[in-house]
């Protein structure tokens, strides 16, 4: 029985993004277990939770249900489902196996455990194929993620070392850190996001708190954003991190604060639904 038959026979109309993602991952809507214990889920659960997440996300960003339109807000959103590079590489808003669709290209020593991805802080990075020059408008940027485990070292993102210009990056030193501002031990930074609009840059944690960090200088550069490492615009990678991520997202489009605040609990709930021990 094919997924499509199950889809219609189930009498439930899933979001197009759900169908596309489940299809490319080969997840059947049945009782088969997927993933790695203790993070494995049945097909029914994955279809249900992911669809619930997409529906709620569309609500938070005032998008039309049953229309494939998450990509009008997000350039990329990686959910890191199942436990391999092959399953974790897909951009959930456009799950196509191509660089143009921001499919992740993993390199080096990654760990995929079904609850997220984690670099080794030595040589692991993932090329998002997203660069600000091509994708970000003037003062329009949202990026962030959901940390499942805090790291011990390193910075990741994109950086112009020669000009000492912060582009956008996550970093961890003694504890959770956003931007280059230290916030040691702040467990609320499960969800972390930087939202830059025409006048403000705000940074958010799991509880929606604006951490009020200073705004970086947004410089549009033709250098892809990396996960797990800091991509130096004028040379090569000069930092690796070991942050464990349950989700990442990035877009060069503007969103409002009210949209971010509405979306944070939705992201958090997804991680709970996926039994990721957050």
């Amino acid at each position: 029985m094919s997924r499509r038959v199950i889809y219609y026979n189930a009498g439930k109309s899933y979001e197009p993004e759900t169908v596309a993602l489940m299809d490319v991952l080969g997840i059947l809507n049945n009782s088969t277990n997927y993933g790695t214990s203790p993070y494995d889920l049945t097909g029914v659960e994955l279809w249900t939770y992911i669809d619930k997440f997409f529906v709620a996300t569309k609500g938070a960003f005032s998008l039309t249900l049953k229309v494939n339109n998450l990509s009008t807000v997000f350039d990329a959103m990686w959910l890191f489902l199942l436990d391999s590079a092959t399953s974790c590489k897909y951009n959930a808003v456009n799950p196509v196996d191509s660089d143009a669709a921001f499919r992740l290209s993993f390199s080096g020593g990654w760990t995929f455990n079904g609850a997220g991805i984690k670099g080794n802080a030595s040589n692991a990075y993932a090329n998002t194929h997203w660069d600000s020059l091509a994708k970000a408008g003037a003062q329009q940027l949202l990026f962030g993620g959901y940390q499942r485990g805090k790291g011990t070292t390193g910075l990741e993102g994109t950086w112009d070392l020669t000009n000492a210009t912060r582009i956008y990056e996550f970093g961890l030193f003694d504890g959770y850190t956003l931007g280059s501002q230290s916030s040691a031990g702040n467990a609320n930074l499960r969800f972390t996001a930087v939202n830059l609009d025409s006048t403000n840059m705000k940074t958010y944690d799991k509880d929606g708190l604006d951490l009020s960090y200073s705004a970086p200088t947004l410089t549009l550069i033709n250098k892809p954003f990396y996960l797990g490492a800091r991509n130096n615009n004028n040379a090569s990678i000069n930092q690796y991190s070991d942050i464990e991520w349950a989700m990442r997202f990035i877009t060069g489009k503007a969103v409002t604060e009210s949209q971010i605040l509405a979306w944070i609990p939705i992201v958090h709930q997804l991680q709970i639904d996926l039994k990721r021990n957050v």
Binding site: S84, A85, T86, S107, N120, N123, A124, Y125, T153, D242
Partner: protein
């Protein structure tokens, strides 16, 4: 702290651009001091035959700290370097640099010499013993034993 395995330059090149799982590329890299390595995660995940030798590589803890390349305090005494052309070619501009460990020969009245402090430099010896430096170390083995013999025969000169 994570674990890595050191690579020779040939091993490093052989892994470049190769996949170790369907969607994960090997990323043979270099430490800050120029030593080539591959990570424990890549070795463990690899299940093929072409690079089966990876499984035999010893794993070591990696530290982000650079080795201490501080030059030891010179003793003012040394031994002469043999003057054969092939040996002198190992020391362009009378220096030798291995991963940041820099040895400078001294032009004494009797000839080109190396201070005894360099011969007892433990950090340099550890650097030589890294697998990726095996070829370089081999090229110096004969010279090393010749210098040792001269030292043991008491052929020590002043390098002041």
């Amino acid at each position: 702290m994570s674990k890595i395995a050191y690579l020779t330059i040939e091993q490093y090149r052989s892994l470049q651009g190769q996949y170790f799982t369907q969607d994960n590329l090997f990323n043979p890299s270099a430490t800050a001091d120029g030593s080539y390595f591959i990570s424990e995660q890549e070795i463990n995940a690899y299940e093929g035959q072409e690079f089966a030798w990876l499984k035999d590589l010893p794993l070591v803890d990696i530290s982000n700290e650079l080795p201490d390349t501080t030059v030891p305090v010179m003793t003012g005494s040394g031994v002469l370097i043999p003057v054969e052309a092939e040996i002198l070619e190992l020391f362009p501009n009378n220096t030798f640099n291995l991963g940041g460990f820099k040895i400078e020969l001294i032009q004494s009245a009797q000839g080109l010499a190396v201070d005894l402090a360099y011969l007892n430099w433990q950090g340099f010896r550890d650097e030589q013993d890294k697998p990726q430096n095996a070829t370089i170390k081999a090229s110096f083995t004969a010279l090393w034993y010749e210098l040792l013999a001269r030292y043991q025969r008491g052929e020590i000169i002043s390098t002041m």
